[in-house]
Subunit: 443 residues, 2 copies
């Protein structure tokens, strides 16, 4: 069927982190059944799911939603998968997956993020005559806000996410992004994403919101949430989002937005440990504003660019912290490896003395000898693998930092093109004894 | 300086695989000096280098080319790096790196591709008023054409390369791709890349070619090439390319193309084991052809789509071969791991018998006991790591296959929209007893 072109098109978008770890997540099969019932009843245009870790669960959902959502895609990546799935009423014409270059550490097996192969999945969908680029993603979790060792990884993921969206969406009429960003609204990565892409937050854009206080999506009232994990945010946090933007051809608005509120009427437990998001988006052909670049919009633009430069500088600092940390870890691995090697040589030397003294009795107890040798070999192998891993982490961090530096340079070039506005002078005089520019592209 | 807009803009593009493995590649420092001299003398607009494995060499080149090519970017990835570098006369506004999901095996250390973190790097450049998206890439090497175990990896790389170029270039006026594709002109991956993106091959597009016979870039006359590696292609092969395309706004043509021919006048050896490519590209504002979709262009379009479906089907077959292979390898790793575990239990059981018999003498010689235990543990660890690696390989191959299947479905949908042309019937009647469609999107 070919929908006739109308001036206005409505799209209902749903996003949920399903918490679908088979045998580990509580009531997993029952919750998937509930999610399937909800989706087939509600018939959203676009359904963006995260943490669908098992392909079997995806296939069950696919079977159940064959009528309501005939088109779907499951994004595969990493050891377990990316956990990302899209269900859609409209045909999916194309898909593309970008795997984040950094995603935690394989030896942090209890956190499990590394095995999940976190990524951003894209689907190109035609809604009527409009092309929508739909993105679903899930960023690295935050396990401890005070001492978040994964922050540089998450900032680089946010950086790569904005790059991916910005560079792949040039041909789209509208852009829709949904997922679990694992970032609070004002967190660095979130600001970076929104400022760079111009994406708007459904929760902030709608006058018609029905859901948890402050749009929270991980709430204390959810029975699957342990309250002490949320401290110091007693009521909950907002880390799941539906973002959107139009284009030069299409305007996009959020008419209403809702979230589930912990418990579900007539059900013993909620759909997941996260709350589900639903946004009603409206697309219209773009109505051009009055022509001519007036002074105000010019100032606003330069203000935005200057804000972006500030956010990027903050992000670079965070990435540099990650770089120092990775360098220290690699140094520790190298040193431990060298100590293991030295120990092995020492042991061999001690064992060799009586052997060189031709026939003198071996003073080294055999058991200790073999145990020590095995320990040395284990140390050598582990530190070698860690060395390789940290080198790759370093390369990714350096790569992101290089790209950010280049981006700052390009933005500053743009700022120089603007007439100097009041609040942001691009040629601030540096304090004496300081480098001329904090973001020198050749630094 | 802001170049004035003229109706025609010329761009000179250079591409070279530098073979820059420090201490291993022959005459590496001397060759880099030669390359630096050439580039600073020739002043190409865009220089795309591959196999610049050491960042130090990149930084030396950067210093040397500071006047001729003030803008540059080095793409970091993997353990050693991606080896990719761009030097440019025009400002680089933005960069983006896509790491291929498959790139050989870490245990094939003598081939080294896995450690290189093969990727495609993108740079957004403004040339006059035009936006050029420039890509540089290096695909997995082909070590044995008859029994090429890396073919599925290279096909998936070509698939991801075309996805990346297609999705990121929508906003560009022109697209320029250079690099070592490690594929012959008619190889599957090359056909996939060209057919899907519409990229044109400089060598085939120009009437004005000066270089090796058949545009070869790896030739027997190059003193760094061992002739037996090229068998059965005695004279050489063409695996390096400069590809380009315009857009709806800009036409692009290749005025001339040249390659080096093995030896360099006044120098004792060539720049690299690969030949260097130079293309002179010309950009003009697009001149629209007569309006109206005539029957012929419609037929051509449907012909192209049908050709793409055929190529995709071939690619899917190749990826499936890779899938079977990866599954077999993972099965072997699992079986070996289980055997290692069984051996360990057996050993412990034998050792436990006299211990249970309270004080009876240990019949197991200690040396053998510890050696065997160490062997079992080594087997277990290795097979565990291999299992994880093969699972990731499987996920990537399955992911690519899924995306290809979806793309075939979408293309067939498109074909159904065309009026039935003579050479390609979209509703071919299948032979009796055969499935209705070889590319059923729901298959």
């Amino acid at each position: 069927c070919f929908p006739l072109f109308s001036l206005q098109t409505d799209v209902r978008v749903f996003s949920l982190n399903c918490w679908g770890i088979r045998y580990l997540s509580k009531h997993c099969p029952q919750r998937y059944a509930m999610i399937g019932d909800l989706l087939s009843k509600e018939e959203h245009d676009i359904v963006l799911l995260q943490e669908v870790w098992s392909e079997k669960d995806f296939l069950n959902l696919k079977k159940k939603l064959a009528c309501s959502h005939p088109h779907c895609h499951y994004f595969k990546s990493g050891v377990i998968g990316s956990g990302l799935a899209i269900f859609c009423k409209h045909r999916i014409h194309d898909t593309f997956l970008y795997r984040y270059s950094l995603n935690g550490y394989p030896y942090m097996a209890h956190h499990g993020d590394w095995f999940g192969g976190k990524a951003v999945g894209m689907a190109v969908i035609k809604i009527g005559s409009m092309t929508a680029n739909v993105y679903v993603t899930h960023l690295h979790a935050e396990y401890c806000r005070e001492k978040d060792s994964y922050l540089p990884h998450r900032v680089v993921q946010a950086w790569e996410l904005q790059q991916f969206i910005r560079h792949t969406s040039a041909g789209a009429d509208v852009v829709i992004v949904g997922g679990d960003l694992n970032m609070h609204p004002q967190d660095l990565g979130n600001r970076l994403l929104r400022a760079y892409t111009g994406l708007r937050d459904s929760y902030l854009e709608t006058a018609n919101f029905d859901g948890c206080e402050d749009g929270m999506t991980l709430i204390a009232d959810n029975p699957f949430i342990s309250k002490k994990e949320l401290v110091p945010f007693e009521k909950g946090i907002r880390i799941d989002y539906i973002l959107f933007k139009g284009s030069s051809k299409t305007d996009m608005h959020c008419d209403s937005m809702s979230t589930t509120k912990g418990s579900i009427p007539d059900h013993p437990f909620p759909y997941s440990d996260h709350e589900a998001l639903t946004a009603e988006l409206r697309m219209e052909p773009h109505t051009p504003t009055e022509p001519g670049h007036d002074k105000k919009s010019m100032d606003q633009d330069s203000g935005k660019v200057a804000e972006l430069v500030d956010i990027l500088t903050e992000a670079r600092t965070e990435v540099k912290v990650g770089l120092h940390c990775a360098e220290r870890m690699r140094y520790t691995a190298t040193r431990t490896g060298i100590m293991g090697l030295a120990l092995l040589f020492l042991e061999l030397a001690i064992a060799a003395v009586p052997w060189l003294a031709l026939g003198a009795e071996q003073p080294f107890p055999r058991t200790s000898f073999y145990l020590l040798a095995a320990l040395c070999c284990a140390i050598l192998l582990t530190t070698f693998l860690l060395y390789i891993f940290y080198t790759m982490e370093l390369k990714s961090l350096q790569g992101a930092e290089d790209q950010m530096r280049l981006a700052v340079g390009s933005l500053q070039e743009k700022l120089r093109g603007f007439p100097l506005p009041q609040p942001y002078s691009t040629h601030r005089k540096p304090p004496e004894g300081q480098e001329p520019s904090a973001f020198d592209p050749e630094e």
